[in-house]
């Protein structure tokens, strides 16, 4: 008998905690029922399975003691709706971890510039936490957060903590509402002022593809080398093992060669329509 190899067989996890971030976004804490998946590196993703509904790729937002996976999910389809509706004690299937990581080491001794758009902050949360845990390794740690509206901001409980722990957190929304006293405008508008020394800056960018492209182009324009800009790309990840073909972007199989790639590699690909 040949069993299905681990990359294709989900491990069982239970929801140990659940926090509603916004009206459509939930953070789940997943605790292994049996042997856990390998410890993920910041930037990697898992395939989360809702019983009988299906499976979706979700980047890790964190990894905590007891092999607990922190996964932030926005309800945009049948599977993500089922996952967001999961209550503590419910069982979720997990495969992974898959793909490349943020490679935060490129920022050693330099400025860390993190640019997040919307739910794109979720995969970047582990970059923030790692950088703050080893704060002395980096010069400035700047986090730019953009979201459509104040109500769409995620991790609001943590933004202040991060500020206190030594991150320069700047938040902007596309559209404010009465009572919003913060910045209004696209996150791309904050980038230029956030750069101190472009040659000594490593940038980590995640959000909608158009936002990542514009952000990276501004960073390059300001003098940050494309190879020092890391972006997390999204395609239709299905197998995680580079055998199903769905997540191709030119030469890349993003479940294996991504999701995080350098902009030097990504730029010629994401600039081609429908590639």
């Amino acid at each position: 008998m040949t069993a299905v190899p681990p990359p294709m067989r989900p491990a069982r996890y239970v929801v140990a905690g659940r926090h509603a971030e916004t009206h459509d976004t939930v953070t789940l804490m997943l605790r292994p029922v049996e042997s856990p998946i390998d410890p993920p590196r910041p930037g990697q993703f898992t395939m989360l399975y809702a019983f009988g509904v299906g499976e979706v790729p979700v980047s890790l937002s964190g990894f905590e003691r007891g092999h607990v996976l922190v996964q932030t999910i926005r309800a945009v389809g049948a599977v993500t709706r089922a996952l967001c509706a999961a209550a503590p004690g419910d069982m979720i299937g997990v495969r992974g971890p898959f793909g490349t990581d943020w490679r935060l080491s490129i920022a050693d001794g330099r400025d860390v510039l993190i640019v997040a758009g919307g739910i794109g902050l979720a995969p970047l949360r582990s970059v923030v936490l790692t950088a703050l845990d080893q704060r002395a390794r980096y010069d400035r740690v700047v986090l730019l957060v953009g979201s459509r509206s104040p109500d769409d901001l995620i991790f609001t409980r943590e933004l202040e903590t991060w500020q206190r722990r030594g991150a320069d957190v700047r938040v902007t929304v596309d559209h404010g509402h009465p009572g919003w006293e913060g910045h209004v405008g696209l996150v791309t508008g904050l980038i230029e002022n956030a750069i101190a020394d472009p040659a000594d800056t490593a940038a980590f960018v995640c959000g909608p593809e158009i936002m990542m492209r514009l952000s990276a182009d501004i960073l390059v324009h300001c003098g940050v080398p494309a190879s020092d800009i890391r972006v997390s790309l999204e395609r239709n990840m299905r197998c995680g093992a580079a055998v199903c073909g769905h997540c191709q972007l030119g030469p890349l199989l993003l479940c294996r060669d991504g999701p995080v790639v350098s902009y030097a590699e990504a730029a010629p690909l994401v600039s081609v329509k429908e590639l």
């Binding site: 008998m1 190899p5 019983f51 945009v76 299937g93 197998c239 055998v243 191709q248 590639l275």
Partner: protein, 378 residues
């Protein structure tokens, strides 16, 4: 399975030797899969005897066209690639990955035991182009512990050197044929000379040598080996088509923004036939299903096609909406980015995609057009 000069000298067998070969493989416990005539085509299926091989049948091939034809002789392997390839046995179109049941506490139990042992197949009549296709799929799918790897490890391959290339064949220009160079257990060359209808049989592995020992016949003399060699050289010169020379990988990368994709899109129906017929196309989708109670769930893997709109689906819509972008994905992957991902071209020159395209799109012609466009633009 590498060709080794230590294996016994090639032997010559007659058509009755094919019966011996079939029986020897069955005796070894193999399910023998080979070409046979069915439904107006030469298909691949489990054979009940060597007599089911398509003796006396040939094919007439053209872009978008396939017809059987009677030959003047009784050759068994003088037909080109048919609608199917061997991938349907090693990489089945549909397969269950696991099943799960809801437990009373609201969780679920997973069972990932497949139904039975992986099959032990003997493929009888694998063309050199298809032999290369199997090697190419190995690099993608034979991950340790996979069901593909299990089936592959049990496989016995009888290759057949190609002495009758078809009108849509271009293996010589892809460097994959018409002669098999290793990767087989046994290799046959069919000879229709004055000496009668015979097969030169060469062993390429220890299991192959063991089966060769049971076949009778006679040791082949140098003259006959030479005749077989000349037949292959002649076949290389009779290819119906040719892939344009040059660095295709570079051409594909340079052609991402080519206007020619729109030209193809005006003809391409995005039906995906080419991906189904292609012996190397490997893409799959998974389907998660439940029964009506909702307590039993299964995950199935099935072939998928990059021509399907859903293939590139992300929340909010598909990435590749236009037909041109989907044809570009297929061709640039096959001839270009396959090198980046898996270290070789994904095309073996079998010509199936040309024959089974309902509108007769010929990739060698499309490559020629892309080449011409780049020349014009530079």
């Amino acid at each position: 399975m590498t060709t080794d000069t230590n294996f016994p000298a090639p032997r010559l067998i007659g058509t009755e030797g094919l019966d011996d070969l079939y029986q020897a493989l069955v005796a070894e416990g193999y399910r023998v899969i080979g070409p046979t005539v069915q439904d107006g085509a030469i298909v691949l299926r489990e054979l009940r005897s060597a007599a089911e091989l398509p003796f006396g049948w040939g094919v007439r091939l053209e872009p978008g066209g396939y017809r059987l034809r009677r030959r003047d002789d009784q050759a068994a392997f003088a037909h080109s690639a048919g609608p199917q390839s061997w991938k349907q046995f090693l990489h089945p179109p549909r397969e269950r990955l696991w099943s799960a049941v809801r437990t009373p506490d609201g969780g679920f139990d997973l069972s990932d035991q497949p139904e039975g042992e992986p099959a032990r197949y003997a493929f009888l009549g694998v063309r050199p182009c298809d032999l290369r296709a199997i090697a190419i799929q190995d690099r993608v799918l034979a991950q340790p512990g996979s069901r593909y790897a299990a089936r592959r490890a049990r496989l016995f391959i009888v290759a057949v050197n190609c002495t009758e290339p078809g009108e849509t064949c271009f293996c010589a220009s892809m460097g994959t044929g018409p002669g098999a160079e290793g990767g087989y257990d046994l290799a046959l060359t069919e000879l229709m000379e004055d000496g009668g209808h015979r097969f030169l049989v060469r062993a390429g592995s220890a299991p192959g040598a063991a089966v060769l020992g049971k076949l009778g016949g006679e040791q082949a003399d140098d003259a006959t080996v030479g005749t077989a060699q000349s037949a292959l050289e002649a076949a290389a010169d009779r290819m119906g088509r040719q892939m344009p020379a040059g660095d295709l990988r570079e051409l594909m990368a340079d052609s991402r923004q080519a206007a020619h994709w729109d030209d193809v899109a005006a003809r391409c129906l995005t039906c995906g036939n080419c991906t189904m017929a292609c012996p190397t196309c490997f893409c799959t989708a998974v389907e998660d299903t439940t029964d009506l109670t909702g307590d039993h769930a299964e995950r199935w893997e099935r072939w998928d096609s990059c021509f399907d709109l859903d293939f590139s689906y992300l929340h909010g819509g598909s990435i590749r909406r236009s037909g041109g972008s989907r044809y570009r994905q297929w061709l640039t992957h096959k001839l270009g980015t396959w090198h980046d991902q898996f270290g070789s071209s994904g095309c073996v020159g079998c010509g199936r995609c040309i024959v089974w395209c309902p509108v007769g799109i010929d990739l060698t012609e499309e490559v020629r057009a892309l080449h011409a466009e780049r020349e014009r633009e530079s």
